[in-house]
Amino acid sequence: MKDLTFETLLAVFEEIFGPTLFWVMVVAAVVITLGYLYVLIRDRSVSWRKFLFAQLSMPVGAVLAVWFVMVMTKSRLSDLGGPIDVILFLGIAAAGALGMAVFVYTVESLLGSKRTLEGGTDAKPN
């Protein structure tokens, strides 16, 4: 890359997904993140009951993210050829896990569920 600036990066991502899909994804990510911050501030604490469920969803997110990338790029696990590939692979899995956890936590907090509502306050972190 000759000039890897933020603008270049945005232009490249816009070209990969098309401007509409890219910005829809960015907006979705921002909305979910803001939603997460909102429930954190609203509840003034992390609900460990909700967080448990979010944690359980993390492997699902990791697998989904890896599967998505592999299918989209016609790749197989055996294509990983060096340390940077493993780092990238773990990074994709971690991003998927984290994203899924935040997503599940936020949705559960906003919609609420019997399980977490009945639990009352989350005074006792595990």
Binding site: L10, V26, K74, S75, R76, G81, I84
Partner: protein, 433 residues
């Protein structure tokens, strides 16, 4: 999940945002001028340059001359020729990339008169210029291969992916049969300078991999032939390719130039150092000699003492400025420089030509130089590639030193080719990369 991934990437990029604001501030003020700038060719180079010049100049009269209605993303042709992408993956409208404020003349250039500074087209249009950028690409000299015509591609085990998207797709028809039926596959390259010297290797690697995946490795006799004595112009890369070929069981026939094919008998004739040699094939990939378009040679723009059979534009290898006509620049495939007939080179060359034209208009000297940078994400199988980057001196110049090893077959390098390369190319066309 993927949302998060991209958000993370975007945030990471945000760290560079402060750098960006400093950079863009330096180029904020367009230069006032009434200069007439003619760009021959609306390919990768011409289009990217036009998009950048309209940002830098105010009032300039910029004209692109190119008869082609379709823009081709040529780095994708190797993927089309192995069935990994459809033909339309590489095709877009020329018009969609051109900025407002430039004129597109859809005609073929017949001649340039560098003394009177006039370009004339085959339709009889004449255009005067103050600055001329010669970026018409190159021509494929298929007639130089006796017995070969383009209508043969796709039949009788004949492939020719350079000839365009449809021929690349037909190449895959012939190659696909070969990967199933097996036999001898002969992969050639020309004696002239050529676009992306990695492409013939990529085609060999990919066809081998596809046959291997189909369980037909035992039926394949892969033969790579070249007029040169080494597998790649950069010695350290040539050695690596030699090892990979050894690993995959690809035989090599060096110092052999394809001169003719007998499609009926499926026999290719090569010129060797001492005579000729015939090789029977079941599949042959033909890459013809490549030359500058006729008007370049006929207009006296070519080197007189170098590449005399090919006619590349005589220009300074660092500034791309014509050595005899300082108001002419060469850009892309047609430039008479030792390396750089790739889209990656164009990406590095465009800012150089832009800088020198804008500087000249302002009455100062340009400072940007081109160091011969060329990049080749050399696919060694589906899912892996080597990100090979080098300069005029055959030095490796990795963009991500210490992170992405240039001579290792890596998944990340494949991802770049598969996902990011076309996007980066398109961003370049728009003048944004």
């Amino acid at each position: 999940m993927d949302r998060r991934h991209f958000l993370t990437a975007a945030l990471a990029g945000g760290a560079a945002a402060s750098l960006l604001s400093a950079e863009s501030a330096a180029q904020a003020q367009p230069v006032q001028t009434s200069a007439r700038i003619v760009i021959i060719g609306a390919g990768a180079g011409g289009t990217a340059l036009a998009n950048r010049l309209v940002e830098r100049l105010d009032g300039a009269q910029i004209t692109l001359i190119d008869p082609r209605q379709n823009h081709l993303y040529q780095p994708g042709l190797t993927l089309v020729a192995t069935g990994l992408k459809p033909a339309n993956y590489v095709v877009s409208d020329t018009a969609q990339w051109l900025p407002d404020g430039v004129t597109w003349l859809s005609e073929r250039v017949a001649a340039v008169d560098p003394e009177t500074k006039i370009v004339s087209t085959e339709n009889g249009t004449t255009l005067g210029y103050d600055w001329l950028v010669v970026a018409p690409g190159l021509t494929l000299d298929h007639d130089a291969i006796d017995g070969f015509t383009l209508d043969m591609v796709g039949e009788n085990g004949i492939g020719a992916l350079y000839a365009g998207p449809d021929y690349a797709a037909r190449t895959w028809q012939a190659a696909a049969r070969f990967t199933e039926d097996g036999g001898t596959g002969v992969f050639t390259r020309p004696a002239t300078e050529m676009k992306c010297a990695g492409a013939p290797l990529k085609h060999t690697f990919l066809i081998d991999d596809i046959a291997r995946r189909a369980g037909n490795a035992g039926k394949m006799n892969m033969v790579y032939t070249a007029p040169q004595s080494s597998l790649f112009g950069v010695p350290i890369v040539a050695e690596k390719v030699r090892m990979l070929f050894q690993d995959r069981g690809v035989e090599t026939l060096m110092n052999r130039t394809l001169t003719s094919i007998d499609a009926g008998a499926k026999r290719a004739t090569f010129a060797t150092q001492s005579g000729t040699e015939e090789v029977d094939y079941d599949y042959i990939h033909v890459i013809p000699p490549q030359r500058a378009p006729d008007f370049v040679r006929q207009s006296g723009l070519s080197w007189a003492n170098k590449w005399t059979d090919q006619g590349w534009v005589e220009c300074d290898m660092a500034t791309l400025r014509h050595l005899r006509y300082p108001d002419i620049f060469a850009l892309g495939d047609v430039a008479g420089v030792p390396k750089g007939k790739t889209a990656a080179s164009v990406k590095w060359q465009v800012p150089v030509v832009e800088d020198h034209i804008v500087a000249a208009i302002e009455g100062r000297d340009g400072t940007e130089t081109y160091n011969g940078y060329t990049s080749c994400p050399m696919i060694t199988r589906i899912g892996r590639a080597m990100l090979v980057e080098f300069d005029y001196n055959n030095n490796l110049v990795p963009s991500f030193p210490g992170m992405i090893a240039p001579l290792e077959e890596l998944w990340i390098s494949w991802l770049m080719k598969e996902v990011a390369l076309k996007a980066t190319y398109n961003a370049m066309l728009r003048g944004k990369a």
